[in-house]
């Protein structure tokens, strides 16, 4: 890792993502288990269309407008939700009966939540039978032009030249939360106990050990690719730059994000008479363009063209990449098994 100005990126194949939350839980168990991080889900998977997490994040602003940094809304704690404490003791031990004599159910203590990390799961859009949705995993985009870094008044944030990972020196962070205002993806959290902002560290200790990030390596859907963008032999470069089927989320935010998405191909719609419309898709093109920009149409055409080839019994190099016959192909050079990572004193 001697090269400078390299960029690690990830590609999420939305045709493989099943919204199972394994990435979110893997991340949470590993990284946000300490003081003040109870509500922080650095990686979330939400249902699109929907309000996502934090609630309504796409309307909160931030990023660059006309090449100028803009500070958007600071998401409120209630818009993230989560970090819930439940009344286990009340239910299990001795205080089970409510005032009316009926038993008290397991619920969040105190005021009942109205939002959470995955509140609008599987609600989606459309009208039955043409209802539709897809799953969108999101974490810090480790942007090439990180608005958070530029916005930080304490110079606590920086982007590592050797891999492009965006980090924060929490010792220098003064808790202004300008980073969170500037981030258009609203993936920066505030640690209310410690008074510092926090976000996805791209599993830096794992990356240093050659281990793929937890969200990627634990993804049972085999939906997440990892690698350097400039590694022409790796799947990231091929999907992003050669086949151009992996798109950044909201490129118009101007931060040049490094998380890419293979757009979803949903089921065929049902016509009013109950027959099948073989020519279109339940997921509106306009929604995909809104999320991934106008290039998504070409990406979808490429994907569908290659899928048509294999349906006819033909071969497709693109399909082979997306299938990933060997799981480790997903991770480029980051294929070390954590069990092989040397531990101090062993």
């Amino acid at each position: 890792m001697t090269s400078q100005n390299r960029q690690i990126a990830m590609v999420f194949d939305l045709n493989k993502c099943i919204g199972c939350q394994t990435c979110s839980v893997a991340c949470k168990v590993l990284w946000t288990r300490n003081e003040g991080t109870d509500y922080q889900w650095w990686c979330t998977v939400n249902t699109v269309p929907g309000q996502g997490s934090p609630k309504g994040w796409e309307a909160m602003g931030g990023g660059y407008k006309d090449d100028t940094l803009t500070l958007g809304k600071l998401p409120e704690r209630s818009e993230f939700g989560g970090g819930w404490d439940f009344n286990y003791d009340e239910v299990f031990y001795g205080k089970g009966k409510g005032a009316g004599g009926g038993q008290v159910p397991l619920r969040v203590k105190g005021e009942q939540p109205t939002w959470g990390p995955n509140w609008d799961e599987d609600q989606g859009g459309g009208k039955y039978p043409n209802s539709y949705y897809y799953y969108l995993p999101r974490l810090c985009n480790h942007c090439t032009r990180p608005a958070c870094v530029e916005a930080c008044p304490s110079k606590a944030m920086y982007k590592r030249p050797e891999d492009g990972i965006v980090l924060r020196d929490e010792a220098k962070c003064e808790g202004s939360q300008d980073c969170a205002k500037a981030c258009p993806y609203k993936k920066i959290f505030f640690n209310h106990e410690r008074g510092v902002s926090q976000h996805c560290i791209m599993c830096l200790p794992r990356i240093e050990d050659g281990v793929a990030p937890a969200c990627a390596r634990q993804c049972p859907g085999r939906a997440v690719f990892v690698g350097f963008l400039d590694d022409t032999s790796g799947p990231i470069h091929k999907l992003v730059n050669e086949w151009k089927v992996a798109m950044p989320l909201h490129p118009e935010y101007g931060t040049k994000p490094n998380m890419y998405y293979v757009p979803p191909i949903g089921p065929k719609p049902i016509n009013a008479d109950g027959s099948i419309d073989e020519d279109t898709n339940r997921i509106p093109d306009a929604l995909l363009e809104e999320q991934f920009g106008p290039d998504v149409h070409q990406a979808l055409a490429t994907l569908q063209g290659e899928m048509a080839k294999t349906r006819e019994g033909g071969k497709s190099a693109l399909m082979d990449i997306l299938i990933a016959y060997q799981w480790k192909e997903l991770f480029s050079e980051f294929t070390v098994d954590p069990v092989d990572v040397e531990q101090e004193g062993q």
């Binding site: 839980v25 590993l30 819930w84 397991l106 085999r222 099948i276 799981w327």
Partner: protein, 924 residues
């Protein structure tokens, strides 16, 4: 481990993060619970004696060239399992109830005190009502140690253990009727070979998280994915087509496709002739096959005929092979045959089926299933031309009242189109076999392989004896017959317990909740079945054997039982003098128990996943840390109960007795028998014994041992072993191929374990003929629950395995932290229901309260109430089962005919819950 910390412009991340990426021990892990098929090899990373975190091991090689490997396998529940170890629902010490049942007042007691009080209750029960009054519900989450300890404990007493397949309702009656075994299971990677994938009666996006990728990858390889479900379910998200059929109309849809296949000449005739009974001759008047006994004096009742197109005569269908040799059987036609009683006009089974199929021409079927005729035809043609596989966790169809009809119709379609016994084809159920050592350890008297060698000799001798009488018997048939004549490890079909003692009688007797073709009262059928001895040896407990002690281990009978806690608390609970829950956590049942005993969780004991051909591996979970508090594994828990039972029996001078089924028991030596004179106590030693025995019996490498497994983490099946359910797969595992069951039938012509020796679509049982179900047909779901406008059509949830994990705070944060019911947006608007508003769901059986999640994905008139939330997550602890009467179909009490006879996990009535009718209302 300074890494490149000194290079470039690097500045450190907070030390907290680095600390989280440190550990001092790693062990193999998995979650050997009732997560079927589970078996995800993982590793648990231990730090300072704490199970810190876990991660998929991802060590599988690619099995078959051109097929993706199985890595990484895992899910969010597994990824957050450590949080269940340290969760607030964990039980750490023996607890004794000190308030009313369900009041939540507990006192911590010693194991000794708990075991003593339980022992006296058992002795009292045996004295008062007989050993059949000691009941163990199935408890599917206990695995390795429960499967060893519970049968030893219950067997010592002579108590009754309920058949897990009926309790879980995971039986597939239509498969059983057709195949003689309900449980074909292909390996997960075999999905990749399918050209058409039907996600049908399943929601793999929720329930097959570790395996769904094979569907996505098959799609990229050229397969077309169809999701057939009333709702645009989560598994419709990535499908090419979603067929939103009317709930309960699946049989009509299948029969319609079968009609298209026949009408358009797309039948795979060779396959249908060989594999099915469709060419067999039957009498249209009697609805019965032509039998040798009608043709020859002293002829067999089990020898059937086909019409040979070459010789133009009725010829005996060979019973020893599916291959026809020189015979050219007519698949269709009407033929005059001279029998002992004169000339009769006979037809093939397929010909008898044809007028039925005409009732389901797409233009007619669309009125039932609401799928457009063009869409029916399009899919039928594809199924006939490409390898087609139904993807499901296990057949959910059996959870419908007419699930047998749905399955039989589906199999008819597959039998006509050549879609089983080949890679990339077939339907799925579930199986558990192969890990024979776990079973032999219950029976063997001493360590080592000597007894197994004797057992193998006995099996060989038994096979030889059986084949001397009938050389056409296959090994699977001999094993099934032996199972039918065994005591099934003390398991009985729970139907008798439910009907006589649990309160189900009230709902089952409501004729209006059954199908209109049930001509007589349910009770008349029930009594006829008992009186004719169709369930001889199984129909326990009797009326007078009132249950007195209930021992729940690894299950949650109050949540699971259809009819719900309301029914059980009213009918069963008052009869019980002792209720014990052995569990890792507080469940609804635990909360209503007299004692709750703490059980070690995964990572705190050795464990093995459910051994299945779904995953093809014996998966190992090690004891990475010691159990907390006073938790022990299930074997040790039952051993302690057994030890105290022996002690109290001696003190009370308890005399030996014979149970109602003829088993002899002496409780003054039950613990001695349990441990085989103290030989079997140590967890490692017993695990090693199980592994070595399994190797000896052929399913895993011959040099397998606990030490070796601690290195490797898993073994792939090398052979079938000795278990009946392995042999009914009818395929030998191969090291470099995906597993597809039934290849011996298709490639080798091995006959099926049915009366006709073929996949059997004609069921001649008089009850079936009376109901017009002797051949596949569609019937609308009955009005279960009463006359209410909504139907419950849903399956398992995403966030828990049954109710295990349901209270894990991480899982709760990935949804709304409380149960929800999905209702259609227009229905909600009409009823003025807001999103997340708690509503009342009710019918004539019961009611519950649950917040609504409003989505256009639900079909209007459908509600999706995912299964798995524990009762205590609902207001007043009333779970959804309170409004599910759990009807059983009267025909499933049938016996005395061909292969319709109970053996463990197989032919028996199951309490269904799909298509229950309910009302919804705002709580004003």
């Amino acid at each position: 481990m300074s890494k490149n910390a000194e290079t470039g412009t690097y500045r450190g991340i907070d030390d907290i993060y680095r600390e989280n990426w440190k550990w001092d021990k790693v062990a193999w892990a998995s979650h050997c619970i009732d997560c079927y098929p589970g078996n995800c090899p993982m590793r648990v990373y231990v730090k300072d004696g704490i199970a810190w975190r876990e991660e998929p091991a991802a060590v599988f090689p690619q099995i078959e060239k051109g097929v993706p490997d199985l890595n990484p396998m895992g899910c969010q529940k597994g990824a957050g399992w450590t949080r269940t170890l340290y969760g607030k629902d964990r039980v750490l010490y023996p607890l004794k109830r000190v308030g009313e049942r369900g009041e939540g007042k507990w006192e911590r007691v010693s194991w000794d005190q708990a075991a003593t009080e339980i022992a006296d209750a058992v002795l009292d029960a045996v004295e008062e009502k007989g050993p059949e009054s000691v009941i163990a519900p199935s408890g599917c989450n206990m695995h390795t140690w429960g499967l060893l300890g519970r049968p030893l404990y219950m067997g010592g007493i002579g108590g009754l253990t309920m058949d897990v397949n009926a309790e879980m309702n995971d039986f597939a009656p239509g498969h059983y009727l057709t195949y003689g075994a309900f449980d074909p299971v292909s390996s997960i990677d075999d999905w990749f070979h399918a050209g058409i994938i039907l996600i049908w009666h399943a929601n793999p996006v929720y329930t097959r998280i570790p395996h769904y990728h094979f569907i996505a990858e098959a799609r990229y390889k050229g397969a077309e994915v169809y999701t057939i479900a009333p709702d645009a379910s989560p598994s419709a998200v990535h499908a090419d087509y979603h067929y939103g059929l009317t709930p309960g109309s699946d049989a009509a849809f299948s029969l319609s496709m079968a009609q298209v296949v026949v009408e358009e000449g797309l039948v795979d005739e060779t396959f249908a002739r060989e594999q099915t009974d469709l060419p067999l001759l039957m009498n249209p008047e009697t609805k019965c096959y032509l039998r040798e006994s009608e043709m020859e004096d002293g002829g067999s009742d089990e020898q059937f005929y086909v019409w040979d197109l070459k010789t133009k005569e009725a010829i005996k269908a060979p019973r020893g092979t599916l291959f026809w040799g020189d015979i050219e059987p007519a698949l269709t036609g009407t033929f005059s045959v001279t029998t002992n009683s004169g000339t009769v006009e006979l037809q093939t089974v397929l010909t008898q089926m044809l007028p039925r199929l005409e009732n389901y021409k797409p233009e007619l079927a669309t009125k039932i299933c609401n799928i457009h005729p063009d869409a029916i035809r399009a899919l039928a043609r594809k199924i006939a031309s490409r390898r087609t596989k139904v993807i499901c966790s296990l057949s959910n169809a059996g959870k419908h009242y007419h699930g047998d009809l749905m399955e039989r119709a589906q199999l008819l379609l597959f039998g006509l189109t050549g879609n089983w016994g080949k890679q990339g084809t077939g339907v799925q159920a579930w199986t558990g076999a192969f890990f024979d050592g776990a079973m032999t350890l219950v029976a063997k008297q001493s360590k080592g392989p000597a007894e197994l060698a004797m057992m193998l000799d006995m099996i060989d001798a038994g096979n030889a004896e059986a084949r001397a009488k009938d050389p056409t018997l296959t090994e699977a048939m001999i094993k099934i017959e032996a199972a039918k004549n065994s005591d099934n490890g003390g398991m009985v079909p729970p139907v008798f317990f439910w009907y006589r003692h649990a309160g189900c009688k009230d709902s089952w007797q409501k004729k209006e909740w059954h199908d209109p073709s049930m001509k007589r009262e349910f009770d008349e059928y029930f009594q006829e079945a008992v009186e004719k001895d169709w369930w001889a040896g199984q129909d326990f407990p009797r009326e007078e054997q009132t249950p007195r002690v209930l021992i729940e281990c690894g299950g949650n009978v109050l949540r699971r039982t259809r009819g719900g806690s309301k029914m059980l608390l009213e009918h069963l609970w008052p009869e019980l003098n002792m209720i014990v829950s052995l569990d890792i956590r507080m469940s609804a049942t635990g909360l209503h128990s007299d004692f709750v005993l703490p059980i070690a969780n995964q990572y705190e004991k050795i464990g093995f996943g459910i051994p299945s051909t779904h995953t093809m591996n014996l998966t190992f979970c090690d004891r990475a840390i010691e159990p907390p508090g006073e938790a022990v594994n299930e074997y040790e828990a039952f051993r302690r109960l057994s030890e105290k039972l022996e002690e109290r029996a001696k003190a009370r001078n308890f005399q030996p007795y014979t149970d109602a089924r003829g088993g002899e028991h002496n409780l003054t030596e039950c613990h001695t028998k349990f441990t085989r004179n103290g030989q079997f106590l140590d967890e490692d030693m017993m695990a090693d014994e199980m592994i070595r025995d399994t190797a000896f019996l052929g399913a895993i490498p011959s040099n397998a041992s606990l030490d070796d497994l601690r290195e490797k983490g898993y073994y792939r099946w090398e052979g079938l072993g000795i278990a009946v359910r392995a042999h009914s797969q009818a395929t030998d595992p191969a090291p470099d191929e995906t597993f597809a069951p039934f290849r011996k039938h298709v490639e080798g012509g091995e006959p099926w374990p049915t009366l006709s020796r073929r996949a059997q679509f004609l069921i001649e049982h008089p009850w079936f003929i009376e109901a017009d179900e002797h051949l596949p047909i569609h019937k609308d779901p009955p009005q279960i629950g009463g006359d209410y406008p909504f139907q419950v059509a849903s399956g398992h949830n995403r966030w828990s395995i049954h109710s295990l994990n349901t209270a894990n705070h991480l899982m709760l944060e990935t949804h709304r932290g409380a149960p929800h019911v999905v209702i259609n947006d227009e229905d909600a608007a009409r009823l003025n229901i807001e999103d997340n508003e708690e509503i009342r769901i009710f019918n004539d059986q019961g009611e519950y309260f649950v917040p609504a999640l409003i989505s256009p994905s639900a079909q209007p008139g459908q509600i999706v109430m995912y299964n798995g939330f524990d009762n205590y997550q609902f207001k007043d602890w009333k779970g959804p089962n309170d409004a599910e009467p759990g009807m059983v179909k009267w025909l499933h009490m049938a016996g005395g005919y061909g292969h319709l006879k109970y053996y463990s996990m197989n032919w028996q009535p199951c309490a269904i819950m799909r298509n229950t009718h309910v009302g919804i209302e705002k709580i004003s």
